[in-house]
Subunit: 239 residues, 2 copies
């Protein structure tokens, strides 16, 4: 385990998580390093273009990591294939549509098409949220063989009622979709997408103010989601 490498990434993550450029000492403390060591490593990162030192001497992350991270994401087959379905759903439903990926016990928001409205969604593309808190996350877990075990771990971690979670997953499995209302006033409906052999499971979800998702409207959304999910699974099954 190369120590310098590990430390450099630790510094970079500290900078990336900060909302503003940090002083040397602050970064050093965040990463648990001596200031001379932090100073040298930051110098290396600056030289490599991942960190920028502004006039005040403070250090900040550049967009370099994001740039090549975006390259990784853009090359995911899921992302490319999903684009059309996301647009289609957004056009017919008119609500916020999200594409997610299961990563451990969490869900990562891969892409998002936001319905322009005053309601602020707190999850932005790239963010990571416990799977059980999201509709698509529960839909994905309900489909996986080890889903119950993962759900158990996650429920324990976040202090959720394991029996209730388990029942919810059962229901999601039989219906083919899951519902979540983690943010007050906002309802999400999510389905799982078979992402083929290569990649992990993917999820598709629609989020909207609760009052938009009742009665026939809700049924329409569910229908559209199930349809899109099924057709996307087909598209991903192609070589």
């Amino acid at each position: 385990m190369d120590r310098a490498v590990s430390r450099a990434f630790s510094l970079l993550e500290s900078l990336a998580s900060a909302s503003e450029p940090l002083r040397l000492i602050e970064v050093a403390q965040l990463a648990g390093l001596q200031k001379s060591t932090a100073h040298r490593l930051l110098g290396t990162l600056v030289e490599l273009g991942y960190v920028r030192q502004e006039a005040s001497g403070r250090y900040g992350a550049t967009l370099r990591t994001w740039e090549f991270g975006a390259r990784t994401v853009a090359q995911l087959p899921i992302k490319r294939i999903a684009a059309g379905f996301i647009h289609g759903l957004h056009r017919t439903i008119g609500e916020t549509v999200s594409l997610t990926l299961l990563s451990g016990l969490d869900v990562i928001y891969l892409d998002k098409l936001i319905a322009p409205r005053p309601v602020q969604f707190r999850t932005s593309v790239g963010s990571r949220v416990p799977a059980l808190f999201t509709a698509s996350g529960k839909a994905m877990l309900s489909r996986r063989p080890d889903g119950v075990e993962l759900a158990r771990q996650s429920a324990e971690l976040h202090g959720l009622d394991i029996a209730a979670v388990s029942a919810e997953l059962d229901e999601a499995r039989s219906r083919g979709y899951a519902i979540s209302s983690y943010s007050p006033g906002v309802l999400s409906i999510g389905v799982a997408v078979e992402a083929g052999s290569a990649a992990a499971e993917a999820g598709l979800s629609v989020s909207a103010p609760s009052e938009h998702l009742v009665g026939a409207d809700r049924d329409a959304v569910i229908g559209a989601l199930l349809e899109a999910g099924a057709r996307m699974s087909e598209a991903l099954a192609q070589p």
Copy 2:
């Protein structure tokens, strides 16, 4: 300059740029490393969660870098403030709207709201394109004191006619917007946004099939862009 750190990033970038997981030897060659060194560094990166080794033994970049890169981007004031304007433009115009940032001689696509149509735009979020090839890039260069010098360098680099480029920038400066038709059949109109003291210059652009941007429609788009650019500059000027 910590050698191991530099090498680790080189490996990671090689993996991120690859369209599929790579074998050890391939990554080692791409990064110019001995296979034992590459093997050890990749092991470190796997341990840190930036690289994943699949069952076949091949190595691939995970979404970890993208995740924290996305955190960096999400914290940019420009990105947050621009979101509303991008949506507004998209709604009134109905075409693809992009948010860009000037980075050296290039433009980075920070965000994008795509008009659903068969035309495939080749630039995705996170990609980097020479500023002179884009409408917003030219608009931004036309506003900067050192814009002419930067344009000269870029023109030389890409074999463009310096006099023509210079004239175009002059025109953009006096009109307040720039036009580009780099991709055949696609026309873009871009304006610069004063991004305040802290960050670099930002750009806003609308791209559409050429035939959509003629006559009164074009004037409407230009008007909306200038309006949005001005109001966004105001918003960014607030502390």
